[in-house]
């Protein structure tokens, strides 16, 4: 009855051999292909370097001004403008300006990439049940395979630095974008779609004119979650050499500097809130028809 209580698993030696074999062959693979693959990501790296360069070298009043302008253009609400600027000033005042700028540049790029990748995939997923069946488990993998696990091969392939960091962040941040785009589009009222069909919309036009606008609230939640996920990965990214607010957090942990961790953590939160409020306000402005309540 032994097998009843203890699972009759593969022999330990065999298991070990399997592991070693795979490990070795993967190592050989990275050695053979590491360079070309790294080349592939070179433009991305340059983009990241450039973004960071801009954020670090622009004088801070210019950056604050720019944030204020963007906030205003996107939201048209002075509360958001004031809130964003105040947060940045506070961050700077507590001497986290530089790290914050690095993190902002990184996260901005990651979020944009996630949105740009996520929305089309989400759309594709909404259009075909087959695509949904295929993509959905992949997203599960992306979200739950611990980033630490795929960081091993990524680091072996690409070394440490910004690009592997970006990959880790995007892998983790893009699934909610995809899922919620899919959900939003699937929830669009069938009658409205039928009307669009009846006038001869192509599926592209249906998408642009009907599905995306009506899926907006859900897509905006997707963007919110993507921003949140990206910022949640800041610390992990800093473990593989991405500079920014993650590093002081790690330092704080290793040295039990409680307050330092909290301060830098709150700076991350501050960025999250700025990003989120601006994007949500923009999304809301796009949906005027929902403001008009009935009754």
């Amino acid at each position: 009855m032994d097998w009843f209580w203890a699972f009759p698993h593969l022999d330990d030696d065999i298991l070990r051999t399997i592991r070693m074999t795979i490990d070795d062959s993967f190592r050989n693979f990275t050695r053979a292909w590491g360079d070309p693959i790294q080349q592939l990501f070179e433009p991305l790296r340059l983009l990241l370097v450039f973004a960071e360069w801009v954020m670090l070298n622009a004088p801070w009043p210019i950056i604050i001004l720019a944030v204020g302008i963007v906030a205003w253009l996107a939201s048209r609400r002075w509360q958001i403008v004031v809130g964003s600027i105040a947060t940045l000033l506070l961050i700077g005042y507590f001497d986290m300006w530089e790290d914050t700028m690095r993190t902002i540049s990184m996260i901005l790029v990651c979020t944009l990439i996630s949105i740009v990748i996520g929305i089309p995939i989400g759309i594709g997923m909404a259009r075909s049940n087959r695509a949904q069946r295929v993509i959905s488990p992949i997203l599960d993998v992306m979200q739950t395979l611990p980033s630490f696990v795929y960081l091993i091969p990524v680091v072996m392939l690409l070394g440490i630095g910004r690009v592997p960091g970006l990959l880790a962040v995007v892998i983790y941040a893009v699934p909610p974008m995809i899922r919620l785009t899919d959900l939003g589009i699937r929830l669009v009222n069938k009658e409205v779609l039928e009307a669009a069909d009846a006038f001869g919309s192509s599926s592209w036009q249906k998408l642009i004119n009907v599905q995306l606008p009506l899926a907006m609230p859900t897509i905006m939640t997707g963007i919110n979650q993507t921003i949140m996920m990206a910022l949640a990965m800041v610390v992990i990214a800093s473990m593989i050499g991405v500079q920014g607010l993650g590093q002081p957090v790690l330092r704080a942990i290793n040295n039990q500097y409680f307050t330092m961790g909290i301060f830098n953590g709150l700076a991350i939160v501050g960025i999250a809130i700025i990003f989120d409020r601006i994007s949500q306000a923009f999304g809301q402005r796009m949906q005027k028809h929902r403001e008009q309540a009935h009754g």
Binding site: I152, V155, G159, I160, G161, I240, N254, N255, M260
Partner: protein, 309 residues
Amino acid sequence: DCNDVTIASMNWQSAEVLASLDKFILENGYDCTVSIISGDTVPTLTSMAERGQPDIAPEAWVDLVPEVIGRGLEEGKLVATGAALSDGAVQGWFIPQYIVDAHPDIVTIGDALKHPELFPAPEDPSKGAVFNGPQGWGGTVVTTQLFKAYGAEAAGFELIDTGSAAGLDGSIARAYENQEGWLGYYWAPTAILGRYPMVKLNFDAPHDADEWKRCNSNADCPDPKINEWVSDKVLTVTTTTFAERAGEPVMAYLGTRSWSNKIVNNLLSWMTDNQATGEDGAKYFLENNKDIWSTWVSPEAAAKIEAAL
């Protein structure tokens, strides 16, 4: 040549300060251009072994992550230039100072294991606890084996997985703040020991290198014996490509640059008191310990560094 040197700064204090120190010295004494790239230990060393980037890891604890560094050295991807800590790192089982003060009879591990009531387990206070190290570290394996060797389980102890260095540190901090007993794996030099003074327990048997290799450091070995834990190597490691391109003076510096545990502990405790960064620590060291660092470099380099301070 010595351009675009990247130095890995690990995220614990002693490595951080050493990275800053190397940066300052290489830049000012050897006209290198240096950037620091910080990351977690394992990814950084892996990246060095597999991708040849970054160039220098000033403080690599060979025994903590034997797979990564060991393999790199074996395969010739990495080169050890010298010992970063002249007297090696200390690993072993520690208890808080106040326990020793209250129970001066506890000197060896064997003594401590007689008092499970002094070291209550967090989730089952009727038992004693030995806090193990982070998952996957060499010291964690050794601790597991020693736990077996001492028959600690029979003595009423359980081995607690702390998961990570952060978890381990947290458990120490908690014990200290509550002035409770704590027994577990730790290592020095570290910042924590500066803040929470702890005492390393002695072993009840002398060191036996063969036995150590056969069993104490091998997780699958079923019958470990008590065996003293001797100090570990902490090396400065560079990539082979860097060793080839860097040139004699730089490699010579990296070969001789080495400090003792005592110096590091003093420095770390200053840093902890001041919540200083590695850069601050390096400056502080350079300003106050010219006698030490001037032996690492050539006189002309020393002059240049002196001038830059």
